[in-house]
């Protein structure tokens, strides 16, 4: 089971990310009263003090605090105190150790005098070595330890490169196998210096270092070499290791440079090519001009052609208008009695007369006759349905009206003419419609709801009510008309049932036949035969 929980700080960080308010960090309060109270509050319980307060307010005896808890607190305090003490002691010890090691390091860094050296050597030995050069050399220079120094305080820790440290030296743990007993401390600067020295020597001699040379390494370490190394140390180390680094670097660099050069060259060449092309193009202005000139000429030609076409069309249109005028002219019109089949005329002839209900006639319940706007005296053919107008008279009328209409010209006259035409057509198609029908229609027209006559000052509801009333009135009138119309309707209806073979059946037989067909049953063969025989006879 993977049980995970994160700390309060992390939780707060996450909450800040989400834009939630951070959880308040509990401040450590004095142990005596706060901790049990908070614990009890978290559990939803009351502390003893709070319970006591409540009990007092209720008039009950306050609860006594258990002594065990006091003892527990005392022991806890004791433990905490001991822990603190131990921690302090540990810190003290660590400080002391650090101080000791620092002192020893300082002692070792201090230049060794002849006297100090002499104290360590026995008198006899000193006397023996008195006349020899070696002694003097050794006395002047402190023998450097070939092996890493092991200090008492840093037990098992080997320190490299402490000999040339001027003051505070930064030591780092040297990489090594985990099976090694002790840790090794090294100085970065010392390491690099050592490498540099080794490298310089190898280069100087041009051969590998022998063991003897290694022994005398310190002696031959002259000031000149030191100066050189110092100068070299300031330079980046990477440059010094030419053997290892330079080859890779050089290869990479040359490759890169070559590539870059190539690229540059390519780019340049490309740009040059493009430029050349451009220049060549620019050098041939005639070509460009020729092209543009062609285009322009084409355009001009096209435009000229188009304009000509337009003019022609305009002329045609003008001519057509003139033609129309000529046609309109009654003098030029063909007055022969031949029929001209025209779609528009047919369409217009289908128009019914515009009926205008006059307010005066409403009171008398009389049907207004269709008015003709031209005011010409039209014979009342509508009132005499028996009289049929001959076609010749109609044609005469037509001619007359046409001459009247188109004599003045204009749309108004044309409309009047149309109205006339429609009137005539009505008279012509009189036989098709009965007078009763028309009367009924007229009545209905009269009863049509008149909108926006006096409804401006009314509210919406009132308007709706009025419309409803009008509609009801209209429906009633319609019903009356229908009744009137159907008053004389008395048709004779005779229902005849027939079977599959077309023979007539009476009601009972028809019912039987229908039922059998519906249920998918049929009479027996004998019965059918008998029936057939009976029918044949």
């Amino acid at each position: 089971m993977d049980e995970s929980s994160i700390s309060l700080e992390e939780t707060n960080r996450l909450r800040a990310q989400l834009g939630l308010k951070p959880i308040p960090v509990p401040v450590p309060l004095p142990v005596q009263s706060s901790t049990p109270a908070t614990a009890s509050q978290a559990k939803g319980e009351l502390s003893v003090d709070e319970t006591n307060k409540l009990r007092i307010s209720l008039g009950l005896r306050p609860l006594e605090r258990p002594e065990i808890s006091r003892e527990d607190q005392e022991t806890m305090n004791q433990r905490e105190f001991e822990l603190k003490k131990q921690q302090e002691q540990k810190a003290q010890q660590v400080l002391e150790r650090v101080e000791n090691t620092r002192q020893r390091l300082e002692q070792k860094k201090r230049p060794v005098s002849v006297l100090d050296f002499g104290e360590e050597v026995d008198e006899d030995d000193w006397l023996n070595k008195l006349g020899k050069n070696v002694v003097s050399k050794k006395a002047v220079k402190m023998p450097r330890p070939k092996k890493p120094v092991e200090t008492d305080d840093l037990e098992g820790v080997i320190i490299h490169g402490d000999r040339d440290g001027d003051g505070d030296v930064v030591m780092t743990l040297k990489d090594g196998s985990i099976f090694d007993d002790g840790d090794e401390l090294t100085n970065d600067a010392f390491e690099t210096k050592k490498k540099v020295e080794k490298y310089l020597k190898a280069k100087k001699r041009g051969r590998d270092l022998d063991d003897d040379d290694e022994d005398d390494e310190d002696k031959e370490f002259s000031d000149r070499a030191l100066e050189k190394t110092r100068n070299l140390v300031h330079e980046p180390i990477g440059d010094l290791f030419e053997d290892s680094v330079e080859q890779e670097k050089s290869d990479y660099q040359t490759f890169k440079i070559k590539k870059a050069k190539k690229k540059k060259e390519n780019r340049r060449s490309k740009t040059v090519d493009v430029d050349d092309e451009l220049v060549e193009q620019l050098k041939e202005p005639t070509r460009v001009e020729l092209q543009s000139a062609d285009v322009v000429e084409d355009d001009e030609e096209l435009e000229r052609f188009l304009s000509l076409e337009r003019r022609k069309r305009l002329k045609k249109q003008v001519v057509s208008v003139e033609d129309v005028k000529e046609a309109d002219n009654p003098e030029t019109m063909d007055t022969s009695e031949s029929f001209v089949v025209d779609e528009t005329l047919d369409f217009l002839s289908g128009f019914r007369p515009v009926v205008k209900a006059e307010a005066k006639d409403l009171g008398n319940k009389e049907i207004s006759k269709p008015e003709v706007s031209n005011g010409a005296d039209v014979p009342e053919t509508a009132n005499s349905p028996d009289v049929t107008t001959p076609t010749s008279s109609i044609l005469n009328k037509l001619k007359k009206s046409e001459t009247e209409a188109f004599g003045s010209g204009g749309i108004g006259s044309a409309l009047k003419f149309l109205e006339q035409r429609s009137e005539i057509s009505t008279t012509a198609s009189h036989n098709r419609r009965s007078r009763e029908q028309r009367d009924a229609e007229m009545e209905l027209v009269k009863l049509q709801p008149v909108e926006a006559a006096g409804t401006e000052g009314l509210t919406r509801k009132e308007r709706e009510k009025l419309a409803e009333e009008q509609r009801e009135q209209f429906l009633k009138a319609n019903a009356k008309i229908q009744e009137k119309r159907m008053a004389n309707y008395n048709p004779e209806i005779k229902i005849v049932y027939r079977d599959d073979k077309g023979r007539e059946l009476d009601t009972k037989a028809a019912y039987k036949f229908a039922a059998q067909k519906f249920h998918g049953k049929a009479p027996g063969k004998n019965k059918v035969d008998r029936r057939n025989r009976a029918a044949d006879n």
């Binding site: 089971m1 993977d2 049980e3 995970s4 929980s5 994160i6 309060l8 939780t11 996450l14 909450r15 990310q17 989400l18 939630l20 308010k21 959880i23 308040p24 509990p26 978290a42 559990k43 939803g44």
Partner: protein, 73 residues
């Protein structure tokens, strides 16, 4: 501050520190940050009650140390 434990019975048991006045939605967001699952895919249950996002922990009477069932949609 309260600490609520969520268990998905599949190997995850997470303790989330939160406030009682946090909504279930906020709690889910905190939880999602701890387990790495999108908060939209987390379903918190207790018995047959599915906790709704807009209601606070204290309204659901979720206290310190409460255990919630963690499901994924």
């Amino acid at each position: 501050m309260i600490q609520v434990e969520c268990n998905d019975r599949l190997g995850k048991r997470i303790k989330v520190k939160c406030l009682p006045e946090d909504t279930i939605g906020d709690f889910k967001k905190l939880l999602s940050l701890q387990i790495g699952t999108s908060h939209e895919k987390i379903i918190l249950k207790k018995g047959y009650t599915v906790f709704k996002d807009h209601i606070t922990l204290e309204d659901y009477e979720i206290h310190d140390g409460s255990n919630l069932e963690l499901y994924y949609s």
